[in-house]
């Protein structure tokens, strides 16, 4: 109910309501973006883009389920595009001459704890599709049916991505324990 009210206030142009939504869900959204992209500047950009798109679509937006799940799905979709763009850029960069930059890396002020670092590192070993299904299942609490619908894949595909991802994580996490 509270989320519906906040969305309604946003539709009327309330900056406070938008700020409230952001404060309420920013941690979940940034954790998901970090786990999917393993890069804090990209995670920030994705959450930024998700909120811009959310506002742009406010006029026709109708909240029918959980706002958190909706925003997390948006983050997953946006992160997928970012991932594709990154892959494209890295192919181009591989074929180009190496560039030595004197500029400092931009400073980002997201601070995350050790657990998120571990999560992000473990997820980096999986394919993007596997990460997506695992995170949406665990973090957003989405069923495989819902995940399949939102990603435009079959339920069996969603389940197999999850299963292969978990198998891979078992090896990674066991290796970490042995170390």
């Amino acid at each position: 109910m509270e989320d519906k009210l906040l969305v309604l206030k946003c539709k009327r142009g309330s900056r406070d309501a938008l700020g409230h939504i952001y404060q309420k869900y920013k941690t979940d959204l940034l954790i998901l973006a970090m786990a999917l992209l393993n890069e804090k500047s990209d995670a920030e950009d994705v959450v930024h883009d998700v909120f811009v798109t959310f506002v742009q679509s406010l006029e026709r937006f109708r909240l029918t389920g959980s706002l958190k799940a909706y925003l997390l799905t948006c983050v997953a979709n946006c992160a997928r595009n970012t991932n594709k763009a990154k892959q494209h850029r890295s192919i181009e960069a591989d074929s180009a001459e190496p560039v030595t930059s004197g500029a400092d890396e931009p400073t980002h002020s997201i601070i995350y704890n050790e657990q998120l670092q571990q999560l992000s590192d473990a997820m980096a070993h999986l394919s993007y599709e596997q990460r997506e299904v695992i995170m949406l299942h665990f973090q957003a609490g989405m069923t495989f049916k819902t995940i399949a619908k939102s990603l435009g894949i079959s339920v069996n595909t969603a389940k197999s991505r999850y299963r292969y991802g978990i198998d891979k994580l078992r090896l990674i996490l066991n290796d970490e324990v042995k170390k």
Binding site: C10, G19, Y112, A122, L169
Partner: protein, 218 residues
């Protein structure tokens, strides 16, 4: 621990902190778009109100007339046009509405009374129980709210930095509150509000092709 449980555990224990600068950077773009949306919406509000009112059942049966008595400098303003008997409101609204708006261009402060009288198709009247006396200048706005003859509330805005603060005293509830942001007066500048009201009612009456059943001065 199973890998699935381990991942769940890591997710539950994961945490991200952001500084206010990061928040501004992430949310800034969305807030800009929200402001644009708000501007667009308020620009489109006038025809929307009009359409909403015309769609309601009561407007099909009744004419609603709001008469504002405008007083400034101790002189009551009446439009000059209208029938000889002085009932200017029975004259063409396009004329007296324009006169009111032209006067509004020249003034800096107004005080007026706002009350709604619905005249139903059977000739019966419904005078609103709640009415207002409004005092407006370029940077202040005060509204006294009456319930019949009893003053129940005084609301006023005062400038506060770049924005406005709204204060309200409810005499009937013995309460007082103050807050920043939008209040019940809406987003209009004081003079703009008067201009809007005059234009709005003029348009409304014109659109009824002067099928005005009765007019009541309040």
């Amino acid at each position: 621990m199973k890998p699935a449980d381990k991942i769940k555990d890591l997710i539950n224990k994961s945490d991200v902190r952001t500084t206010s600068e990061t928040d501004k950077r992430i949310l800034g773009g969305a807030l800009e778009h929200l402001d644009k949306l708000k501007q667009k919406k308020s620009a489109a509000d006038q025809p929307n109100i009009w359409r909403t009112i015309m769609k309601t059942g009561i407007t099909k049966l009744a004419a609603a007339v709001a008469i504002a008595i405008i007083v400034f400098g101790g002189i009551t303003f009446w439009p000059h046009s209208g029938p000889e008997n002085g009932k200017w409101w029975l004259g063409p609204p396009a004329v007296w509405g324009q006169e009111i708006m032209a006067e509004l261009d020249a003034i800096k402060a107004v005080a007026y009374r706002e009350q709604l009288v619905h005249v139903l198709s059977d000739g019966s009247e419904r005078t609103s129980r709640i009415w207002y006396i409004i005092f407006e200048s370029s940077n202040t706005h005060r509204r006294d709210v009456y319930d019949k003859d009893i003053l129940i509330e005084t609301q006023w805005y005062v400038p506060d930095g770049d924005g406005m603060l709204q204060h309200s005293v409810r005499f009937d509830l013995k309460s007082y509150f103050t807050h920043s942001g939008e209040g019940s007066f809406g987003n209009y500048e004081p003079i703009e509000r008067m201009r809007f009201l005059s234009g709005f009612w003029m348009k409304q009456i014109s659109c009824w092709e002067r099928r005005l059943l009765k007019t009541v001065i309040v």
